[in-house]
């Protein structure tokens, strides 16, 4: 361990420009207001603040949690791949990826903590009354382990204990894979919801995590250099190109997976799954699906990456931002569309579309989650800025 650790060796004071300070203040404001609304909802009762119902019990808070959790997994895995296979240029982005993985999972935990009706019971009964057949249990437990591992990993990176960082990083990455695929399985194993049910979602979530992780590391690295007002060094640039390739490849796979997912639904004879799919393809959620999920989330960034041959950082950064926006909407579409067809469809003149519009309260909690992520990013660049410089080790 280095004995010369001090804030001087870690921090990056030049980041603290007036613009960044203002942005940080806003991010903190978003966090406080957003999470404050969530705490109010917990005290007053979710039904007063959130729009979820008996028929649609999961809404935008679940999808936002999934969005952050999936992104966290991707960042953690990219860091682990970079650190594990030292030869890949991805390693130059690895330290920031580990930090951002922690930031995004903490944003995810903030949102899910305010989505659960009685989260304090989870702390007790997840431990003393575990249900090993429950994907929620595995997901929570493995994400908990992963975040623990990443805290140790990041501490080891800061204190330059590379072997410890590598070992713990691999453990964290494995826990993230387990947690991420269990998150997919939360939906994929519900035979009552045919739009979700099937083998695809766990691996779809894993593929999405690589896409979101690559998108996030490109975007945030770009922002970090903008904040410093410096050009990219060669190693960082090659790292970004490498992440761009990961992004292009995974976006391509997601396009293929999405196409087959819908084709398979229409080759089956499950009416409920088809009605749900049609909400996305040509129903009330069609704009979400075609514009945000398909065009902005997959096709445009893929074309941009291919068109610029991963040689233009702003182009890659825009592709990353589009991927994240599309990914956010994709998680929302998946969660909401899967619950839109009543389980007793055909009875009671039940509608074929139950409907769900996020409440202002829910949107503010989402803003709080984004605030957590941005605050941690901005503060991290200031406090640990030097740690994020291209790796010298390996």
């Amino acid at each position: 361990m280095s004995n010369n650790l001090s804030t001087g060796t870690l921090s990056e004071p030049r980041v603290a420009t007036p613009t960044v300070n203002t942005a940080t203040a806003f991010a903190i404001l978003f966090t406080v207001v957003g999470l404050g609304v969530g705490v109010y909802a917990m005290i007053a009762g979710h039904h007063h603040v959130y729009a979820c119902t008996r028929e649609v019990p999961w809404g935008i808070l679940i999808s936002t949690y999934a969005f952050f959790a999936i992104t966290s997994t991707g960042l953690c895995l990219l860091a682990a791949i970079g650190h594990l296979f030292g030869g890949t240029p991805l390693m130059h982005l690895g330290n920031r990826a580990v930090y951002l993985s922690i930031a995004t999972i903490l944003a995810a935990f903030s949102v899910i903590g305010l989505e659960l009706e009685s989260p304090w019971r989870m702390l007790i009964y997840n431990v003393i009354s575990p249900n090993l057949t429950s994907n929620i249990w595995w997901m929570g437990t493995l994400y908990g382990m992963a975040v623990g591992a990443m805290f140790i990993e990041f501490f080891a990176i800061v204190t330059r204990q590379w072997n410890l960082a590598l070992a713990v990083g691999i453990m964290g990455a494995l826990a993230e894979v387990g947690a991420n695929t269990n998150l997919g399985a939360v939906f994929a194993t519900l035979s009552a919801r045919p739009f979700w049910y099937g083998a695809q979602l766990p691996v779809f979530f894993l593929c999405s995590s690589f896409a979101s992780g690559a998108a996030a590391i490109i975007l945030f690295t770009h922002l970090a250099y903008k904040m410093r007002g410096t050009d990219f060094d060669e190693r960082t640039f090659r790292g970004l190109q490498s992440a761009g390739k990961v992004l292009a490849l995974t976006l391509f796979l997601l396009v293929v997976a999405t196409a087959w997912r819908f084709i398979v639904i229409f080759t089956g004879n499950n009416e409920m799954a088809m009605i749900a799919a049609n909400h996305l393809l040509k129903g009330k959620m069609a704009t979400n699906f075609w514009l945000f999920e398909v065009a902005i989330g997959m096709v445009f960034p893929l074309l941009l990456l291919i068109g610029t041959q991963m040689k233009n950082v702003p182009a890659m950064s825009i592709a990353g931002a589009m991927t994240l926006v599309g990914g956010f909407i994709q998680r929302y579409d998946l969660v909401v569309a899967g619950q839109q067809v009543p389980v007793y469809y055909g009875w009671d003149d039940l509608p074929s579309y139950l409907g769900y519009i996020p409440s202002i309260g829910e949107l503010l909690v989402v803003m709080g989650g984004i605030g957590v992520c941005l605050t941690l990013f901005l503060i991290g660049e200031r406090v640990f800025g030097k740690v994020f410089k291209p790796a010298e080790h390996h």
């Binding site: 979710h46 989870m122 009964y125 249990w137 469809y345």
Partner: protein, 250 residues
């Protein structure tokens, strides 16, 4: 014989056909349909509308003693809602929620004619309950003795995965308990106090809801389900939940 030749033959009509032949023909038809439809004889309609499909019901083993179940004689229901009232009163169900309800629809019975149909629904106390599998803290569990799917409210974290997993919309979030609430066949309020029927079954004036122990050959539920000519079905058999609420007519 070629089809062209067949068409030239005079139609003898069904009147002269001996009933033995007719039965034989029907049996063939059923067997062929069964083979091609993988046993789901009535898969011509969506599964939840299937009546008479016995898939999802296995009448061989009863894992619990007593193995509580309910048979709903659907066509007898007139939607008087006395069952709902009794449930609310007995189990202190808040007005924003319900443990049991009655669905309705109009089914066309002629070009301009429709008939109203009612269907009481409640927790199906499945043998393979999806809600129990997904609960992270075992707050909902299958009672080892009776097979009733119960709640341990203090363990419920309110993740609502059981609500998403339930094929029967049987669960709601109880704000006062800060936990999911659901039908437990009135176990705490009636059965454990010596009553033989659930509140809804006892209150039904049309004897729609027959409640009892499926493992007891002397029980009404056992006898009804085992009537050779009775058509019995369950809701959403395709989910594999193996429900213990059966539907029939008459």
């Amino acid at each position: 014989m070629k089809i062209d030749d067949l068409e030239k033959l005079k139609n003898e009509g069904p009147d002269t056909l001996p009933s033995k032949e007719r039965r034989k023909f029907l049996k063939w038809g059923l067997a062929v349909t069964g083979v091609f439809a993988g046993g789901a004889v009535l898969s011509l309609t969506s599964a939840k509308n299937v009546q008479g499909a016995l898939e999802g019901i296995k009448l061989k083993k009863y894992p619990y003693k007593p193995h509580y179940c309910m048979i709903i004689r659907q066509d007898r229901c007139v939607d008087c809602e006395k069952c709902k009232e009794a449930c609310v009163k007995t189990n202190n169900v808040p007005e924003y929620g319900y443990r049991t309800t009655i669905l309705e629809r109009e089914i066309p019975i002629g070009p301009d004619e429709k008939q109203r149909e009612f269907m009481p629904v409640l927790c199906n106390h499945c043998n393979h309950p999806p809600c129990v599998r997904v609960c992270p803290t075992r707050a909902t569990y299958k009672d080892e003795k009776t097979g009733i799917v119960m709640m341990d409210y203090k363990k419920c974290i309110g993740c609502k995965t059981c609500m998403a997993a339930c094929p029967y919309n049987a669960r709601y979030f109880n704000e006062e308990k800060r936990a999911i609430d659901k039908c437990n066949f009135c176990f705490d309020t009636r059965l454990s106090k010596g009553e033989k029927l659930t509140a809804c079954a006892a209150a039904c004036p049309a004897d729609v809801r027959i409640f009892g122990d499926l493992s007891d050959p002397e029980s009404r539920v056992y006898k009804l389900i085992h009537e050779p000519d009775r058509v019995v079905w369950v809701l959403r058999p395709e989910t594999g939940a193996m429900p213990n609420v059966y539907y029939t007519k008459g």
